[in-house]
């Protein structure tokens, strides 16, 4: 190892000191290879310092600097610091706007040893610069229904504290967005927001992912791994699907919440962390407690502050608002010029049950905007499944379930125009039932028979009898 290189590495040791700085910092050698990242940059990029040492910086940072005339090379050649704005794409596939400051590292004789790259997350500044929609107090969450207004009023209060928060609500209601909004409006916003999906990994992997491990803790643990709790130091750790967290890990999480410290896997040294915990779930945790699947003490610890996101179907007026907003978004994204929807399509959208909530509505509008080649969206552009089955229950088991009709039952409305005469014979009622069942099942007779509660042959016979073929 050359003297100059070891000098840079001594600088790299400074990274431990720089771990407390709320900006990403990378130390590079003259060949633009990484010598180390501070903890903040590790959280921002999704890599830890050890695993990326010696790699050309841009394979890890994935910035757009090379498309801006390679300012890093300029700094190496001129020895002068440069600040420029750009972006990175991290391991979590997020595009983050960044202000880069590139400074040379020189020895006492002025000889260049390497480069320090400082990355400042400027997404908040960009957000402020954007045109505010004026529909809600929180970027990305749209709604003006009284139920959502209650949430918007609570967020600033919850942001001011460090207490654990629990967000509940059906799938697709915007739990992740709300958690991020709480983080962004809190004093921790300049520190990392780390999201961990508790249902995505098996127990053993999840433990190492959350709490990290010491080198040699198990086969394959070749380097120390800091774990998500440490990466979230100073910021917020967001645990989604907390209801799916295995029981042994629930105990460990409870300890962390109480003591703010834990033992990484294979380590005898406790690690102290200052991370706010926000958890979310679409499950009914009280029911889980009754079934022995969730610890009651953890529930009470998390349930200090509780936010419940209402399902879309119970948000008065928000469906129309979201349709208009999403149409604007996809018009711009897909370079379309769709002006609106006709009344029939709008009626279908306004009366649909949305078991997948806002996420489902977003997908429906995206699909519709993609398929529609006209200026107005008509019902024929809507996804077929909206007509085939009337979903009457949300996808998730949740405390919000309302007493609605069962899935797939036939709903013959006596007030519908065709029957308004009130003088329908049983034959015409039966004919109509058959027609409706066939329409709902896309002409599939087997499914239609099931829906009617008849055998296939009965349906076949009646279709023949009423000449409905």
């Amino acid at each position: 190892m050359t003297k100059s290189k070891s000098a840079v590495i001594r600088k790299a040791d400074l990274l431990h000191v720089l771990d407390g700085v709320p900006h990403g910092i990378a130390v590079l050698d003259k060949q633009q290879r990484l010598l180390g990242l501070n903890r903040f940059l590790g959280a921002l990029t999704g890599y830890n310092s050890e695993e990326v040492q010696g790699i050309y910086y841009d394979y890890v940072l994935r910035s757009n600097l090379s498309h801006k005339g390679n300012p890093l090379q300029n700094v190496i050649e001129t020895g002068e610091s440069i600040t420029t704005e750009g972006n990175i794409i991290n391991r979590r596939r997020q595009n983050i706007p960044i202000r880069f400051t590139i400074s040379p590292i020189k020895d006492s004789s002025g000889k260049l040893l390497g480069v320090v790259l400082t990355l400042e997350d400027i997404s908040i500044l960009e957000d402020l610069g954007r045109k505010i929609l004026g529909l809600s107090g929180l970027e990305g969450i749209i709604g003006h229904s009284p139920k959502m207004q209650e949430i918007f009023d609570l967020v600033p209060v919850i942001s001011q504290t460090n207490a654990s928060a629990l967000i509940t609500g059906e799938t697709g209601t915007g739990k992740d967005l709300l958690a991020y909004a709480i983080h962004q409006t809190s004093k921790r916003s300049r520190y990392p927001f780390i999201k961990v999906n508790c249902s995505a990994l098996p127990e053993s992997l999840l433990e190492s992912e959350l709490f990290g491990y010491k080198r040699g803790a198990f086969t394959g643990a070749n380097t120390d791994k800091p774990g998500m709790f440490r990466l979230a130091h100073g910021g917020t750790i967001y645990l989604t699907e907390i209801g799916d967290l295995p029981l042994p890990l629930q105990a460990k999480l409870l300890t962390v919440l109480d003591d703010k410290e834990f033992f990484p896997l294979g380590s005898s040294k406790k690690v102290k962390v200052d991370a706010r915990v926000i958890a979310s779930t679409h499950r009914d945790l009280k029911k889980f407690i009754g079934q022995g699947k969730f610890r009651e003490d953890l529930f009470f610890r998390l349930n200090v502050l509780r936010l419940h996101l209402p399902p879309l179907r119970s948000r008065d007026g928000d469906i129309r608002l979201l349709i208009d907003h999403l149409l604007n978004v996809f018009n711009s994204n897909l370079k379309k010029s769709i002006k609106g929807l006709d009344q029939k399509a709008l009626d279908v959208l306004l009366n649909y049950y949305y078991p997948g909530n806002v996420r489902e509505l977003r997908n429906i509008i995206e699909y519709t905007a993609t398929v529609c080649q006209e200026n107005t969206i008509r019902s024929k552009h809507l996804p077929k499944y909206m007509f085939l089955s009337k979903e009457k229950e949300p996808l998730s088991s949740n405390q919000d379930q309302e007493s609605e009709k069962n899935v797939g039952t036939l709903d013959i409305n006596p007030e519908s125009p065709s029957e308004a005469s009130g003088s329908m014979s049983w034959v015409s009622v039966e004919k109509r039932m058959i027609m409706e069942a066939l329409m709902k099942t896309g002409g599939k007779r087997g499914r239609a028979a099931k829906l009617l509660g008849w055998g296939r042959s009965t349906l076949w016979r009646k279709i023949k009898q009423y000449e409905l073929e």
Partner: protein
Amino acid sequence: MKILITISKNHVGPRFDLANEVVIARVQNGQILGEPRIILLPGTSPEEICALVIKEDVSVVICGGIEEVHYQYLIWKKVKVFDSIIGPYEQALKLVLSDKLEAGAILPG
């Protein structure tokens, strides 16, 4: 089947959306057919690269960083995506053929 890799010199390109070059390899029974084709894409948008993937009927994409929206689009189009790959693209290609490549892999070299 076809495999598309966004490249930068001899490595997997760090960003899907800023890729200036891609390699398309045709594969049959785990073997590369002929010489992989290199396509230059100066100033191409990520949407155009996605369109190229679909037009060329590519089954597997190997890339560095990719935004969620493009990743989800490719997944929706039934394209398998190995993202966050760091290392020489030929090595990535070899590994994917032997079913040993994983998203997020850091390959030596």
